[in-house]
Amino acid sequence: MKLIAVQVARLLAALLGVYALLLLVCLVLVPLGSGGNRLDTARAGSTLFITEPKYAFMARSQLNTTTDKVILLGASNVLVGLRQDQIQPHVPQLEVHSLAVSGSNITQVGQVVDLVREVQSPAARAHTSYVIGLWYGLFAEDRARWHTPDRVAGDTDIDIERYRYGFYRRTPNGPVPLLPPRYLQAGTALVHPYLVLDRATRDVTKSMRSFISGKSAPTTDEERNAIVLSKAQQDQYLSFWHDYMGSTDELKEAQFQTLRRIVDQIVSAGGEVVLVDLPLPAWHSQRSPLWRSYASHMEPTLADLQKRPGVVVVRMGDDNRDDDFGDEVHPKPRVAPRWAARLAKTLNAEGDARQANFARDSVSGLHVE
């Protein structure tokens, strides 16, 4: 018994020694990374965090400030259509961050909100507004979206990041933090060697992985601006989304209830929510039964939510010219500045209204900082 205990102790000591040395070397060679002054998951690929979910999970600590900020949430059409770097210049009075994650459904959007709230003080929460980009793909059921062979059934991409370095532990009731969120930065520093090794390995094997997976090289903005979809491609996309959503043409009300809960959670903490009903190309919405189901659920949901204080709805469904889209969902690069300006207009109007309320409350003595 003693021999085993001694060997365990020796091994642990060796492990600590080797890891400390590795940490030191990594910190010297590759200084600690951050998400930048403004978080933008679209830039994840150029950081140590590499992927959007890992970036959203690990870089969020800096959101714990009382500066007025807007956080963009949603899936890849938010990343492509509502770009942080295009919106920010329109709203200099606000910090604009994007934590949109490709492939998100509404459950994962809620998880990102939870991640942000975890690291924020109550005062910081009150200064945080969220922009949620909505479309039917966001309301995919968890069973269809997250029960895939490449993961533990039900784990979202955010869950995977929660468990990856042991910051959370798996329980029957979902992930539970092992590392208190206030120590997130320390935890990120502690796993720095893994971030460096992951980045290095991915960079070294990039071309080999692209070859094996058969992925074509990313298209340029010019190429995307020039895309015209054929009827066969449209059919393929419709078929893809039918399968992706769980081989169904009907969305479930439960997912829309999740949206309501997310909105309630944010508003009750003093935050604000801008719900953006994102457009699809006209051919897509006209031919998709899923879009019709989405519209029938979304109309009453938005009508109800926009009555609540702190909730604004932006309907962009009219911006749906087929030629403006590079595929079935994502706007072409030349269109993104228009979407950004349209959203910024709402954000500025809301900012003005907020200022007016602030001034009125201050005069009447209602506002307490």
Partner: protein, 481 residues
């Protein structure tokens, strides 16, 4: 409790510490009993899910004791039939009607290996080799040993009983060796096999996706298929042999010398040689309990001395077909069995005919030539890797692949892979030879306890690093068989 989880590491460590807490043989046996119970229970949510396994164990135990007391051929056949029929029912073979199956979920894992051990005891009991009764505790510890429950190795009962009666004696070097073996096992499973599994999933995903595959030219399709087959073979080997390293290493700490299951299978120069190096305890079991009795029966039926070698060809075909079919419960495994059977019998037939044609001396001399060795190794690996396709496709997918390749494409895949493997083996051996000449392992600087622990620490960090790349810990693949 998956074998690659931290939970299992902690569990194994506690069992090892408890096994060493007393020198009493009885104590160790009780610790093993408790560990086995806890391990199996960790796989189910409700006690009801263990009921079929418990019933199956009770049936096997009663049958063995019955045959031991009244050893007769009818008793053996009756109990054997009952046990195998129960096994087929519990394993839910696809040809069974739903109405025959138990209407609730239950633990299926481990049943195959319980069956192997139980049949071994049953047949030995008939042959009078089981002199003393087996106590229920020994029966449970032998058939449900937490280290071998999932997928073997299949230890013989005599070996189990002999080591059960030995006091556990550990020393510093054995403990270090055990830790090294366990960590090597984890390195194989969680790093090497995980990487190849990832590659395999990516490549096979494209192959089995009708849209993606339609875009391939025939050579590209064949190359993708061969790449997927090789990745799966490497994944399977490192996954399974890593598992064996883990259980053998933990066994050393708990006073169990489990049999080895692999002996450098990719050094095999023929298909038959391969099976004496791959999943060795399973091959031994089939040799003892299927091949040998079958050959005996055939030899009694066909007495001509000239027929002898051809009887072995037939016996190999039947044995390997059964062994292949055992791997699963659906129709594709019948094809797997037939491919294994064909491989083994063609291999035996080649040995017989080449021996007759060239004479034993010339045949042996030819087989010892370096080029023949590498070509044989290549042919062996290629056959096995392509046969394994049955383990990662269903029947429809297999037919689609076969239809796309055609006979010529399949033959090209086989010989192309064999040549590539032969060249790969040659390159690898040359590199390994150069590295061996450096004799790093022999240098004093690498042999001290501190240096060895630093080496183990590096391996652990590598395991954790690779594990952090993937979304989930790799499953132990043979648990499904």
């Amino acid at each position: 409790m998956t074998l690659t989880s931290l939970g299992f590491v902690a569990f194994a460590l506690v069992v090892a510490l408890l096994s060493n807490a007393s020198r009493s043989i009885e104590w160790r046996s009780w610790v093993l009993l408790a560990a086995n119970g806890a391990f199996i229970a960790s796989y189910v949510d409700r006690p009801l899910h263990l009921l079929p396994l418990a019933g199956f164990l009770a049936l096997c135990f009663a049958s063995i004791e019955f045959v031991r007391r009244r050893p007769s051929t009818p008793a053996l056949w009756a109990t054997l039939t009952l046990i195998v029929a129960s096994f087929i029912l519990l394993k839910k073979f696809s040809f069974l009607s739903e109405a025959w199956l138990l209407p609730f979920p239950y633990l299926l894992m481990g049943l195959s290996y319980v069956l192997f051990r139980a049949l071994h005891l049953l047949i030995d009991a008939r042959q009078g080799e089981l002199k003393e009764p087996v106590s229920p505790r020994d029966f449970f510890n032998y058939t449900c040993n937490f280290l071998t429950f999932t997928a073997g190795p299949i230890q013989r009962f005599e070996a189990y009983r002999a080591q059960r009666q030995q006091p556990l004696m550990l020393d510093e070097s054995r403990v270090l060796r055990a830790f090294s073996r366990v960590i090597l096992g984890f390195l194989k499973v969680a790093a090497v096999s995980a990487v190849f599994d990832n590659l395999f999933q990516t490549v096979s995903g494209r192959l089995l996706d009708a849209h993606a595959a339609a875009a391939f030219s025939l050579p590209a399709f064949a190359l993708t298929f061969v790449t997927a087959a090789v990745c799966y073979t490497v994944y399977l080997y490192y996954n399974f042999s890593g598992y064996v390293d883990i259980v053998v290493g933990v066994g050393w700490l708990c006073g169990q010398d489990l049999p080895e299951n692999f002996n450098h299978p990719f050094l095999a120069r023929s298909f038959l040689d391969f099976w004496s190096r791959w999943h060795m305890t399973l091959s031994d079991w089939f040799k003892t309990y299927v091949f040998n009795p079958l050959l005996k029966v055939l030899a009694a039926r066909f007495r001509s001395p000239k027929a002898g070698p051809y009887l072995a060809v037939a016996a190999f075909f039947i044995t390997f077909t059964i062994m292949g079919v055992w791997h699963g419960t659906t129709s594709v495994f019948v094809i797997y069995g037939l491919i294994l059977g064909a491989g083994a019998s063609i291999n035996k037939l080649w040995q017989v005919l080449a021996g007759q044609r060239l004479g034993k001396k010339r045949y042996k001399a030819l087989a010892e030539k370096q080029i023949a060795i590498y070509v044989s190794r290549g042919l062996t690996l290629a056959y096995f890797a392509l046969a394994l396709t049955c383990l990662w496709v269903d029947l429809t997918q297999l037919l689609v692949i076969a239809g796309r390749l055609g006979a010529l494409g399949a033959v090209a895949c086989y010989f192309g892979l064999a040549l590539a493997a032969a060249a790969g083996f040659f390159a690898w051996d040359s590199l390994a030879g150069r590295l061996a000449r450096l004799q790093l392992g022999e240098r004093a600087a690498f042999r001290g306890i501190t240096a060895q622990n630093l080496g183990l620490a590096l391996q652990i960090l590598l395991i954790v690093t690779v594990a952090s790349f993937f979304h989930k810990a790799p499953e132990f693949v043979y648990r499904a068989f």
